[in-house]
Symmetry: C3
Amino acid sequence: MSFEQRVVELGCPVPDPPRPVATYEPSVQVGDLLFISGVIPVREGRPVFRGTLGRDLSGEEGYEAAQVALLNALATIRHAAGSLDRVRRIVRMTGYVASHEGFVEQPAVINGASDLLVRIFGEAGRHARVAVGVVALPMGVPVELELIVQL
Amino acid sequence: MSFEQRVVELGCPVPDPPRPVATYEPSVQVGDLLFISGVIPVREGRPVFRGTLGRDLSGEEGYEAAQVALLNALATIRHAAGSLDRVRRIVRMTGYVASHEGFVEQPAVINGASDLLVRIFGEAGRHARVAVGVVALPMGVPVELELIVQL
Amino acid sequence: MSFEQRVVELGCPVPDPPRPVATYEPSVQVGDLLFISGVIPVREGRPVFRGTLGRDLSGEEGYEAAQVALLNALATIRHAAGSLDRVRRIVRMTGYVASHEGFVEQPAVINGASDLLVRIFGEAGRHARVAVGVVALPMGVPVELELIVQL
């Protein structure tokens, strides 16, 4: 089964590709590496989740926010590569989690994105990963993801 | 017009190359990728801006701080590559913004560096980007930038 | 002297390779680049240091924590590459330091890892580096490191 078929089967609502904003690009390719700009849990430009883990949001909400952010990364990959089927490997993902002092469950939050990557891409979706807790993120969202993908 | 001519025309004061400090390097090249160490808004080793966005500094000051930090990245690129004209593409920039709780305008701050990249390098300056809000940065500066450049 | 001999001579207790947890990998290789997942100062799954710099821990403790985290990165490199002797260059390290407001000595903390890299790998250990202060890290540890290594 292709990766594109897999997202349909899983019912993943991959959105339209993000429009370029400001003076940076949704992604840049060098050789076979695609560097993807930070993605956040927005739909049609509006935050789906806002707030800080350990104060405003539960770990489950953080997990869902990571899923929504990942769908935006998939939209960028599809737009840049033509199709998700061109993914050879998800290389690395850095997950930034807006965290209140004392919240240390960043890995559980970022699993929302990691689990989805493996459900869609199988072995090709198994990535190196970093998860850290930051003070605040653009638009007040709880999660931002940065990915490097091999095409 | 060459990139070197462009920085002259724009009146960008690219400083002398940073001296290596401690046990790391200003940059490391692998293949055609140049990985640049974190740069901050210092001149001659002294911070030009200090403080946290959303408490001590305005968004405009943050924007200017990002510009100053970027000039230090340009100095590193020129030193490593011999000339800014050897830049083929600015691949990715991560912008860390020292942020008080509730400050979520990290993208507007990092635009200070992104806008300057595009003014200098044109299409080659359009990069993938990540912007996040951190608690504190070395020397108390408000912005730190990390870049990957294709030569 | 080989790098493997060097870690023996220095008495560096490189631990067993980390077991894969969750849905990500300790490292992913693309071409000659090895991307290593975030490593923290744990031994046998338990934090060796916990707390925040500038409040709970001294700079020296942070320096030691960075050393312990780096040993876990070495374990991952050895496991992925077969031997530390296959390292051609430590390309870049990002050091995340759990920091209380006003703590700005992140570079001194991350030197714990940088100094060790150069003691083991010599010129091949001189890397590009980023050091930033974050709110919180997984398991409440004070340091997390992310590395890219050329094999």
